[in-house]
């Protein structure tokens, strides 16, 4: 979803400098998902489909309320349902709205080899530009949250856009607009952090959730989607939310030092062979049946 009116601060697979690199905008946009007030109604799933023009379809029943096991190329927003047994033996139904986290340091963008197929706007949104996508799937390897998905018909990758088209026009994302309990909030990262901290304080002081906390993992530079969790020490209970997500070290090496090592090795090889020819020349014995020896 190309949004040319927003300044672009990072471009995937780009040779040379990025026009908007280093641009800092005071307001980074952010979604706050308060899992403690989510009722699992799936209004956000439907709103996401409606706004982005995808059909609803049959669900995959797996003894759970969950619509399907994971997000798909045309299903970007999925509430993950997990039954969780607490220490006192009581059950909790944990519900977490899963979608692209819009990492400040996006692993998908780093891994992507296609110029301009993944961009990051100055407001923090990480967006796929399908017209430049080559469908290689490297973003799948780079993402620590299992978000980019492949459309086998068009052979392009898709994921949540954080409704960059709506945000660009001053609207909140479709999922936020549809939430009936107000567990979804949208605003600047600073405002959302304040709100999240207040809610965590409330959960600790008034509701006895002593482990309550905000999920804004530093391993990916913080995220444009934050969660309030009843138990921030166990994010895995919320549909497999990774405890300490990182851009894989191997992806960093592959896209960093390995490039220079590999390219220098190839250049060195070409120069080495040229040097060999200048120093030693071709084999002098006559062998070439056609135009052999000089």
């Amino acid at each position: 979803m190309s949004q040319a009116t927003l300044q672009i601060t990072r471009i995937s697979g780009h040779a040379g400098p990025v026009p908007g690199a280093g641009v800092e905008r005071a307001d980074q946009v952010c979604k706050l998902v308060d899992t403690t007030t989510c009722i699992g109604c799936k209004a956000c799933e439907v709103a996401c489909l409606e706004w982005n023009g995808y059909e609803f379809r049959e669900t995959v029943f797996d003894n759970s309320y969950q619509t399907m096991p994971e997000t798909e190329w045309n299903y970007w927003n999925l509430i993950k349902f997990n039954e969780h047994e607490r220490e006192d033996g009581s059950l909790m139904l944990l519900m977490r709205k899963d979608q692209c986290m819009h990492c400040a340091d996006p692993g998908c963008l780093l891994a992507c080899p296609a110029d301009g197929a993944i961009v990051q706007y100055s407001n923090g949104i990480v967006d796929f530009q399908q017209e430049h996508c080559i469908g290689c799937g490297y973003c799948v390897s780079g993402c620590p949250f299992n978000i980019p998905k492949f459309n086998p018909q068009t052979k392009k990758m898709f994921k949540c856009t954080l409704c960059s088209d709506r945000v660009n026009e001053g609207l909140e994302p479709a999922c936020i607009k549809s939430c009936p309990t107000g567990c979804l909030h949208f605003g600047t990262k600073d405002d959302m952090t304040d709100l999240a901290n207040k809610r965590v304080h409330q959960l600790k002081e008034h509701f006895g959730f002593s482990q309550a906390g905000v999920y804004d993992p530093p391993g990916v530079g913080g995220t444009g989607v934050m969660y309030v969790l009843h138990d921030a020490t166990n994010p895995g209970a919320y549909g497999g939310l990774p405890k300490d997500p990182q851009v894989p070290m191997l992806v960093r090496f592959w896209k960093g030092p390995a490039k220079w090592i590999g390219n220098l090795a190839m250049l060195g090889g070409i120069f080495g062979l040229a040097f060999h020819h200048m120093r030693f020349g071709a084999k002098s014995e006559n062998g070439g049946s056609e135009g052999g020896r000089p």
Partner: protein, 227 residues
């Protein structure tokens, strides 16, 4: 088969002087492997570095390159496996290769008088063959992981990363061998290109570069020329 030489140039030895080094099947399979490898090399380097992405543009653009890369890769692997069928026995590394291995610095410096006689393939060619063969196998296995990356469950995320690592490492190993192979076949050993394209080499060439093989084939049904 030497009769198939269409236009003998005046400098060419008389046709009776030429012997067959690679038959048509060997040459065709080598060509198929070449086509598969060159396409994968160009497009693979395009996916490797943004500064080489233009290589994908000249073969139809990034998405087209991405679509064909695995298919050309399969072509390369199949042709390589077929070459194992054709050349596997000749490529077996024997004790006789030890002496050649020791003399390799002389070979590199073109001091060929100090290099032991080689069979159909010398030790360097054998090493190159096995490098490309095992490289092809690793590229195939890791390439399947990259091709069907979403079939690897997210709980085995490390496998996706391993596939990237193995693919890149194996590719660079084959690139190193490939560069030396092309240099030697085209520039360093005159007559090499003609041998793999048209199949024939002169007796002198065979005697100098692969004397054991030359003695073996000239003892056969081919009438001896000099001896």
């Amino acid at each position: 088969m030497s009769a198939s030489r269409a236009i003998p140039s005046p400098a060419t030895h008389e046709s009776g002087d030429s012997i067959v080094r690679y038959n048509l099947s060997e040459r065709v399979h080598h060509l198929l492997a070449t086509v598969g490898y060159l396409y994968c090399l160009a497009t693979g380097l395009a996916f490797w570095s943004p500064y080489l992405f233009w290589l994908a543009v000249i073969v139809g653009g990034g998405a087209t390159a991405r679509f064909w890369h695995p298919w050309f890769g399969l072509l390369f692997v199949i042709a390589t496996v077929w070459m194992l069928r054709l050349w596997g026995s000749d490529m077996r590394i024997t004790e006789a290769d030890e002496a050649w291995k020791k003399a390799m610095p002389h070979y590199v410096r073109n001091e060929d008088a100090r290099v032991p006689a080689a069979g159909r393939f010398n030790y360097g060619q054998k090493i190159f063959f096995w490098l490309m063969f095992w490289g092809a196998i690793l590229l195939l296995l890791s390439g399947l992981g990259l091709w069907f990356v979403e079939s690897i469950p997210f709980s085995l995320h490390w496998l996706r990363l391993l596939a990237v690592f193995v693919h890149v490492t194996a590719a660079f190993a084959t690139i190193a061998g490939f560069m030396i192979h092309v240099y030697m076949g085209v520039i360093m050993v005159p007559g090499g290109t003609n041998a793999i394209v048209r199949g024939g080499v002169s007796r002198a060439w065979a005697r100098v570069h692969h004397r054991l093989w030359y003695e073996q084939v000239t003892k056969g049904p081919t009438p001896p020329a000099g001896k």
